[in-house]
């Protein structure tokens, strides 16, 4: 018997025989000019008299962002990549008219030099299990396309043949856990809201994707909004809610736009509104946008924001399942979580639970980025190793650099080092290893990444995003950031590490919400895995990765400088001044840290980290 992944992939082989071009409309492809490619294609089609016969559509993200701008030509399912508007001519004349594949525009595997025609042949896709992303990059966001692939069939099935308790039972049996970061069993959460007594209940889909390095919610909302909507309606039926909201980041205007359109289409077909599909169940859905506050991803803060105020978090309990929006029982599920629901209902919890180890069923979408060859969304069964994700799917580290660490879970998460490459990526294993899956951000770092700087980066983020309501988070994050700044500037002392650890513990135990409780995680995990690097910054005033500016900036040792002027001539920023007989000096205000001067100096008078060393001498 084929797996659920294979079955879904088979279903999505296009039944039509006519030509159709789907252009990737993910953010990177949009930035690289996919719209111009589309316009050029339309122009060429017109020249050949094919206007209207070959539709060209911009859809959601196809997947591998390093190939953009890219497109898929159906019915062959060929992927043409790294396109410029000029390539439209070849695609139309050669491929569409003459029936010859344009090999020059196909993707070539850099390792085997083999030409890869279809998405499924590429290692980036071959090793994935695309359940949540089943429709992303395959269909357009329009409801007609969604309906062709059994769209809203799960909703019809649930409404016609299952009562709410049976739906909840099925979700519980599937073993699905919340994909937003908490990992709480979804079925249990639904049951809590179902059994809460109230005249009114709400469902909220949390699309406030705040991790600066995660973009799966955005791609799903842009590429497959109807799967999200269908999942929310089923959730509402199960818990007994009549109103729902999708809370989206304001930074995602395209996602907001696509969702609005999708909701209108769903309403028109009576999947939303009164007496849905004549079953007597009524439910309506609205979009609300955030306004750029990371803390609003936290459930209670999100509710505050949805009610039109500052996004201040509240103490739990009461949990939103008991007292949420307007004080009523409220179910809050993440985008990726709800997209799993139609699958579970349609194919059964048993098929779903075939994927992933016990207690960690299903798949997880990771946003693979950083120092890795193939950037993009990667969906794999929970329990897949980090090695497989980074090397087999992501194509390894660019420029033959060495893997140093992977950061998971964003500002609330931690780092995994080389020793964790064979760790199964699931909720429990990651927690044991000192990190979390979080919302699925996965940033790869090589030997040129500084772990102290990374910890400072995340603390800077958390400190900036702290709402300021509770003292441990407000003051703790500030003090910790100051200490980390001191270390990265080469002014650290050994006792700082102890103070950092104490502050981290205080913040973890004393903060009101998850933001403050998890903010010390990036620091603690890097401190545990890369203590040597911290000590190098403190004791030797050296940044081994060459990242921390104060420690790597060039400095001319006046005792060694012979005032030859070579450095000043090669400096592109005109930052070096001097005259004959007097040692040259670097104006660090102008200096761009290119270090050309250092390489050129024949007397080795220029070194890195001079500022802090000079200060240390003072």
């Amino acid at each position: 018997m084929s797996t659920l992944v294979e079955e879904l992939a088979c279903e999505r082989v296009r039944p039509e025989t006519d030509h159709r071009i789907l252009v990737c409309g993910g953010i990177p492809c949009r930035s690289l000019g996919c719209r111009l490619v589309k316009e050029a294609l339309e122009e060429e089609l017109q020249k050949e008299g094919l206007t209207g016969r070959v539709p060209v559509e911009i859809i959601g993200c196809i997947g591998d962002c390093s190939l953009g701008p890219s497109l898929i030509v159906y019915p062959e399912g060929l992927v043409y990549q790294k396109l410029a508007p000029e390539d439209a001519r070849a695609i139309v004349r050669e491929h569409l008219v003459a029936g010859r594949i344009v090999e020059a525009l196909l993707h070539r595997d850099p390792r085997s030099d083999e030409i890869l025609r279809q998405r499924e042949e590429m290692p980036f896709y071959r090793e994935q299990a695309r359940l949540v992303l089943r429709n992303c990059g395959v269909i357009s966001a329009h409801i007609d396309d969604y309906l062709k692939y059994r769209g809203y069939a799960a909703l019809a099935l649930a409404l016609a043949e299952m009562n709410p308790e049976q739906v909840i039972e099925e979700v519980k049996k599937s073993g699905l856990r919340g994909r937003g970061g908490g990992g709480f069993p979804t079925g249990r959460k639904w049951e809590l809201v179902r059994t809460a007594h109230s005249d009114e209940k709400f469902v909220i889909c949390n699309a406030d994707e705040g991790d600066p390095g995660a973009f799966m919610d955005r791609n799903i909302l842009e590429g497959d909004p109807h799967s999200v909507i269908e999942g929310i309606i089923i959730a509402a039926y199960a818990v007994g809610a009549a109103r729902g909201y999708i809370y989206v980041r304001a930074e995602y205007p395209m996602a907001v736009h696509r969702c609005r359109e999708a909701i209108a289409q769903a309403r028109q077909k009576n999947f939303l509104g009164d007496n849905i599909l004549e079953t007597g169940f009524s439910f309506d859905l609205e979009i609300r946008t955030g306004a750029g506050a990371f803390v609003c991803g936290e459930e209670t803060a999100l509710i505050s924001s949805l009610q039109g105020t500052r996004g201040d978090p509240k103490p739990k309990p009461p949990f939103p399942a008991q007292k949420g929006l307007w004080g009523k029982p409220t179910l809050i599920n993440n985008v990726e979580t709800v997209v799993n629901i139609p699958l579970i209902i349609l194919h059964g919890s048993k098929r779903f639970a075939e994927l992933g180890p016990e207690g960690n069923r299903g798949t997880k979408v990771f946003a693979l980025a950083g120092k890795v060859n193939h950037t993009g969304l990667v969906e794999v069964p929970l329990g897949t190793t980090l090695r497989k994700i980074i090397f087999d799917i992501g194509g390894g580290i660019p420029n033959n650099k060495k893997f140093k660490a992977a950061q998971t879970g964003g500002p609330s998460g931690g780092c995994l080092g080389v020793e964790s490459l064979d760790l199964p990526m699931d909720y429990d294993s990651l927690r044991e290893a000192g990190s979390i899956i979080g919302s699925g951000g996965l940033i790869v770092m090589d030997e040129e990444s500084c772990m102290v700087d990374l910890a400072r980066f995340y603390l800077d983020f958390n400190q900036d995003e702290s709402c300021g309501k509770c003292t441990p988070c407000r003051i703790g994050s500030k003090r910790m950031l100051e200490l980390l700044q001191k270390i990265t500037e080469g002014r650290g002392e050994e006792q700082d590490l102890e103070i950092l650890e104490q502050l981290a513990l205080l913040m973890k135990n004393g903060s009101l919400c998850a933001l403050g409780r998890t903010a010390p995680n990036p620091l603690l995990s890097t401190l545990r895995l890369f203590r040597d690097e911290y000590l190098a910054h403190i004791k030797e005033r050296r940044c081994p990765a060459g990242v921390c500016r104060s420690l790597v900036r060039p400095w001319i040792n006046p005792e060694l400088c012979k005032a030859c002027g070579l450095c000043a001539r090669v400096c592109p920023a005109e930052a070096i001044n001097g005259e004959k007989g007097v040692p040259y000096e670097i104006d660090l205000e102008k200096c761009c840290d290119c270090l050309r001067c250092l390489k050129e100096c024949p007397f080795n008078a220029i070194s890195q980290g001079g500022i802090s060393r000079a200060e240390a001498v003072d």
Binding site: S31, A291, F294, T309, A369, D593
Partner: protein, 149 residues
């Protein structure tokens, strides 16, 4: 102004949506505008300011004609975006969050533009420029200045 408030029919829960619309219309939130909203929705002005200062999307100072956003998401960060921010800041003679004296450019740091494959990434007036080096970013700025002079 009236249109924006009327669109939400005096619904005080729509406050954030109203602030979004005002910010887009004026390119910041003028005090006079907030006073009118306060009056019409019968909410204290301090309440509006508490939200306006809380969310990153709102500006309390007028923005420049052109908005430069430097993405400081994690993927951009590990590829060196902070140095690009520094270089642009030096070239413009302003700190992140400030506007040049001639009112032409506002320099902003943003958490993540969600285009991690393109990092380091700078967006000028919503147009993304990816895979930048410090020199390319500086040249980009110069070209932009010339074009809009």
């Amino acid at each position: 102004m009236e249109q924006i408030i009327d669109k939400y029919r005096g619904d005080s829960t729509a406050m954030i949506a109203i602030l979004h619309d005002l910010n887009a219309a004026f390119r910041y939130l003028p005090r006079e505008a907030l006073e009118i909203v306060s009056d019409r929705l019968s909410v204290p002005l301090s309440y509006l300011y508490s939200a306006a200062t809380f969310y990153r999307s709102f500006d309390l100072e007028p923005c420049g004609e052109h908005e430069i956003q430097v993405c400081l998401g994690t993927a951009c960060h590990v590829r060196g975006s902070e140095r690009i921010l520094d270089a642009l800041s030096r070239r413009l003679g302003i700190k992140p969050g400030e506007t040049t004296a001639d009112g032409k450019f506002t320099l902003k740091r943003v958490n993540c533009l969600g285009a991690c494959a393109l990092g380091p990434l700078v967006s000028i007036d919503q147009k993304h420029h990816g895979h930048l080096t410090i020199h390319q970013a500086e040249r980009l700025l110069e070209a932009y200045k010339d074009e809009h002079d």
